[in-house]
């Protein structure tokens, strides 16, 4: 009998596991996939290491900063700031036709850029900043306000609105077209007011530290153990049955599988409303270069591009992908310390919007062809906004919505989960709780905080 069974060994599950095992609970994390990390995982191909999710760790604050999610997460998990070896970004860009805004980990650059490109909007941008709600002050009612309405009342230039939304939607919006105000505030703080960073060794380093800590405090981690069913007695969960038939009992269950995905596992739930599933998923086209991107004139850490004045955030209307907007990430372009040196090779990762069902319905042969096809199209689209690197590519890979599904088990490979968030993590069962994407936090630090706060609120106080 476990005190807590945790479903999913992603960031939130591991963080919750550390908290609970540290305080002497008997904890087991069950992971369906063959590896840990969930969305923020990694793989190896042709002798090279690749990250799945991580472009950047958001919420970056420098050593010594006591406020904000990064500092809070480190304290709660008993890590030192150095344990995550975060190197800050060099600088990023929002690129629209004929207009770009640079930003970095100091809000003054973005403010100066707005003053330069949108001189009439400086005061409006300041009043937007004044409206941003602090992490701790978000409640469910404030959370669900329409961001586009708030922006329309505050900023009078529609292009600036679209440009500000672009990175924030790309890095954490599960809703189509509009964004919950709470999500906007979280993303605004984590990207524009805090910032981007990356460990030299990628997401592996963070995961390795989390697993080592979890095992060090006595937690059990079981890979290849998918949960087939959550057993229910009255209004309580009593345990789980695994895909292999094994049964495990627990006093409570914390699930990072997603809200609908978790409900579907419950023995007492016959049907879930799939219309509530998230729809936004991506493909990523990865290019390995024979030199650093900066040698080709691209010194930006991340470029968020959109090829018209209106930013459309929704699944592709009639094709496998929509490449009108995308994210170009160059992991070389971080300020790595002298102890790290430089990455061995140049890397450019391009993310564009994709449609899960269309990718999922391809047969194997067609799937391979379409990966190559959309790699070419995505890169062609992206090089309108960064210098053309196509003559320097030595290897490529593409991961698709079905890859994301395999790592996360989210319905439709929805990267940021379902649009409706359950901030308090409760469900119809008194001892079954949610953590992770559908509880309302995204990003690596956000997911860790989600696991921590749900463990604290629901699993520690008895």
């Amino acid at each position: 009998m476990y005190d807590t069974i945790i479903i999913g060994a992603g960031m939130s599950g591991l963080a919750a596991g550390i908290r609970l095992a540290y305080y002497d609970q008997k904890v087991c994390i069950l992971e369906r996939h063959t590896t840990i990390g969930g969305l923020n995982s990694f793989y190896r191909m042709n002798g090279r290491d690749y990250d799945v999710g991580l472009h950047a760790v958001t919420n970056f604050t420098p050593k010594g900063e006591k406020k904000g999610p990064l500092a809070r997460m480190l304290r709660q998990l008993r890590f030192k700031w150095e344990d995550f070896s975060l190197s800050p970004q060099i600088g990023s860009r929002i690129a629209f036709p004929g207009c770009s805004l640079d930003f970095d980990n100091d809000i003054r650059l973005l403010t100066a850029e707005i003053a330069d490109k949108f001189p009439g909007q400086v005061d409006n941008f300041q009043s937007l900043c004044d409206k941003i709600v602090d992490y701790d002050d978000l409640d469910q009612a404030t959370f669900e306000i329409s961001t586009r309405n708030v922006l329309k009342e505050t900023i009078s230039d529609p292009l600036l609105i679209e440009m500000l939304l672009c990175p924030l939607m790309w890095y954490g919006n599960a809703r189509e077209d509009d964004m919950d105000w709470g999500q906007f505030c979280i993303m605004f703080r984590s990207i524009y007011l805090e910032g981007f960073a990356r460990p030299f060794k990628g997401v592996r380093l963070i995961l390795k530290n989390l697993v080592r800590k979890f095992r060090g405090v006595g937690g059990e981690l079981k890979l290849r153990r998918g949960v087939a069913e959550i057993k229910v007695d009255g209004d309580r969960a009593v345990g789980v049955t695994l895909d292999n038939g094994e049964e495990i009992e627990g006093k409570r269950i914390l699930s990072s599988a997603g809200r609908l995905e978790t409900l579907r596992l419950c023995e007492d739930v016959s049907e879930v409303d799939v219309r509530q599933s998230g729809q936004l998923t991506f493909i990523e086209s990865i290019s390995i270069l024979d030199r650093e991107p900066s040698k080709l004139g691209n010194d930006r850490t991340i470029v968020f591009y959109n090829d018209s004045e209106k930013f459309d955030w929704r699944p592709p209307a009639d094709d496998l992908c929509d490449i009108r907007t995308g994210v170009i990430c160059s992991p070389n372009n971080y300020e790595y310390g002298p102890e790290d040196g430089k990455l061995d090779e140049g890397v450019v990762r391009i993310t564009t919007i994709a449609d899960f069902d269309r990718w999922n319905n391809l047969d194997e042969q067609k799937y391979k062809i379409e990966k190559l096809n959309w790699y070419d199209k995505s890169v062609e689209s992206a090089v309108r906004f960064v210098p053309d690197f196509r003559g320097h590519v030595v290897d490529t890979d593409v991961f698709t919505p079905t890859t994301i599904r395999r790592f996360t088990w989210h319905d439709k490979g929805a990267v940021y989960g379902a649009p409706d968030k359950q901030l308090d993590g409760t469900t119809h069962l008194s001892n079954l709780f949610l953590c992770g994407t559908d509880q309302g936090f995204v990003g690596i630090v956000g997911s860790l905080i989600s696991g921590i706060s749900m463990a604290n609120q629901h699993c520690l106080r008895d």
Partner: protein, 83 residues
């Protein structure tokens, strides 16, 4: 435990919660929140650590007694007298 021992116990806990913090200059009569930016999650940790290390139970409605070092030591002295 004497009040001085209890103070040491709390310092040890704070060192674990905030390893980057310099506690040598901690002022006992000023709140932890103000000096160290501790938040509600950190206060839960002080409570949980006291339970884990010394089997001291603190009811949720009394968490407020842990505001500063001075108030914490005063509050814990009768509870930890026999440890």
């Amino acid at each position: 435990m004497s009040p001085a021992d209890i103070r040491d116990v709390i310092i040890e806990i704070l060192e674990d919660i905030a390893p980057d913090e310099d506690l040598s200059s901690l002022k006992d009569d000023v709140s932890f929140r103000e000096q160290m930016e501790l938040d509600s999650m950190d206060f839960l940790d002080i409570v949980m650590e006291l339970r884990k290390r010394h089997r001291v139970q603190i009811p949720e409605e009394e968490y407020g007694e842990l505001a500063s070092m001075e108030s914490t030591v005063t509050y814990l002295t009768p509870k930890m007298a026999d440890i």
